[in-house]
Symmetry: C2
């Protein structure tokens, strides 16, 4: 049987079943970051993301954008757990015939965004490969009280996103702004029950929250903000690499947030009990069950 | 200009010049691990190593050995800084047509060695790629007093290695035992001035110690232990992936170690002043200057 048969998440599930961890691991695999004990007030957050030529970018992608994307994805993961990025290591594999200037511009792309978010680049590894491959491993910190995972969404919670969805492949996936500022604003001022960054599509990532919180949800087609490049509603629901935050707040907390009239935080639906599953109310006010799916590597 | 012209270390040097880090970074790039502030007694050690099909292993390499190698390389880096490995993240890229069983055996290879060294696997990333690519990022800890870097070798120090060198390509590079036990024995019982693991060949890695400590060295051909698979002395001097430890002790400390008659720790030469450069005393007792070179990715 090939991995394309069971898919990325099927394979991850099989790996996960084999893992045991000790008490210093607050949260192992299965969230945006691993969460480890650190000091009295903080946890360590730790994530890694690999991008590969012809999959995550093309041979025509500007090198600054390649470096930028690898770092931005990890910043987005740290943000989704409520934390602040601090350090990164980068493993970079390059074809032998890569120009020095191109390599330096990949690195400059990493440096520029690292500087912007005050992240220390503390090392890495250089290898040879046929395709450009860049894996960023990032460490961050989060105050214990501000840690947000995917598993505390409750029936009645309002579901929000931080921006327009869909059509990221047209360019946003290379130059998106990770929602770090927004995430920190949220965790410092609200009790966020669950949060994830949308990397594999709204429905698939909402699916992770629903599964881990053992809840269902109702979305409203009218409320889902579509990006200027989105083809249609389905594109906003299913396509990957938006890197917006998806989060849930209790009704009280949601009203408090909505009262601030911050256009970036858009309510799109509500959390329901588990057996409600996932449903969409369409523009004609008809409700239908949705299948959880989205981007899969294989 | 292509990267093959300036080489791996030339490119790293160009990257390094662009980096600035804050005071929480004890040691950034340029050693076996990055060293970060942690608690009152400990530093965090952090390393990453990427292995790529057709470069670091072949399509005939058993999957258990692929997983094992990626983890063992990072354990060796943590050992070279005197620490203990604790956690790992793994980014794994696989061709779509990879069998599930093959993927699971790569993971099992990681799990087996992780278990052996009590390392928690806390997450990772799965991607698609044409060639199998595995990047392991590992966190460890070291007591502040036990941290060893590459930059404190002193003229008069005795240079040691932990085992036979050369011919690793014949198999050892896939199933070597990282010298964690030996490194911990050393840092707990001796004052180790400088240490590195031999990944790119004895001379090249000794070169890193010499450069960072601003010293020279004299090696004795007679004393350099050649592995059973080593072709000749040059193979032991220049070929990569031995993953033995190379370290220096003051004369007093060296005598204390030698008095223990532990066959694994072999003295091979001594540290000299910087302008002595690097010289080898051959079997006919003639001394000649050596060029620092070894394995380079490009």
């Amino acid at each position: 049987m090939l991995i394309s048969k069971i898919g990325e998440f099927g394979l991850l599930e099989r790996f996960r079943k084999l893992i045991t961890t000790d008490a210093s691991v607050i949260k192992g695999s299965g969230d945006d970051c691993a969460v480890l004990k650190f000091d009295r007030q903080h946890y360590l957050l730790w994530t890694c993301d690999m991008i590969v030529e012809d999959i995550d970018f093309t041979s025509h992608t500007g090198p600054l954008l390649i470096g930028r994307k690898a770092v931005a994805i990890s910043v987005s993961d740290i943000a989704a757990c409520g934390g602040v990025p601090r350090y990164l290591l980068a493993s970079l594999a390059l074809p032998k015939e890569t120009p020095v200037s191109f390599s330096e511009r990949i690195f400059q792309g990493m440096l520029d965004i690292a500087k912007k978010y005050k992240i220390n680049i503390v090392g890495g590894d250089l290898s040879k490969a046929e395709k450009i491959t860049l894996d960023v491993s990032m460490l961050g910190q989060v105050e214990k009280k501000n840690l947000v995972l995917r598993n505390k969404a409750c029936p009645g919670d309002v579901i929000f996103v931080t921006g327009a969805l869909g059509g990221s492949i047209k360019g946003k996936h290379l130059n998106f702004t990770p929602r770090l500022k927004e995430a920190r604003f949220l965790v410092k001022n609200f009790k966020v029950n669950a949060m994830i960054d949308i990397s594999d599509g709204l429905l698939q990532d909402l699916g992770h929250i629903l599964e881990q919180s053992r809840v269902g949800a109702r979305l409203y087609a009218d409320l889902i903000p579509q990006g200027p490049q989105a083809k249609d509603l389905n594109d906003a629901l299913y396509s990957g690499e938006d890197f917006e935050l998806l989060f849930t707040l209790s009704k009280d907390q949601a009203e408090k947030l909505l009262a601030k009239h911050l256009a970036i935080f858009q309510p799109i639906g509500e959390i329901r009990e588990e057996n409600f599953a996932l449903r969409l109310v369409d523009k004609a006010n008809r409700e239908r069950l949705l299948k959880i799916k989205g981007f899969r590597h294989f």
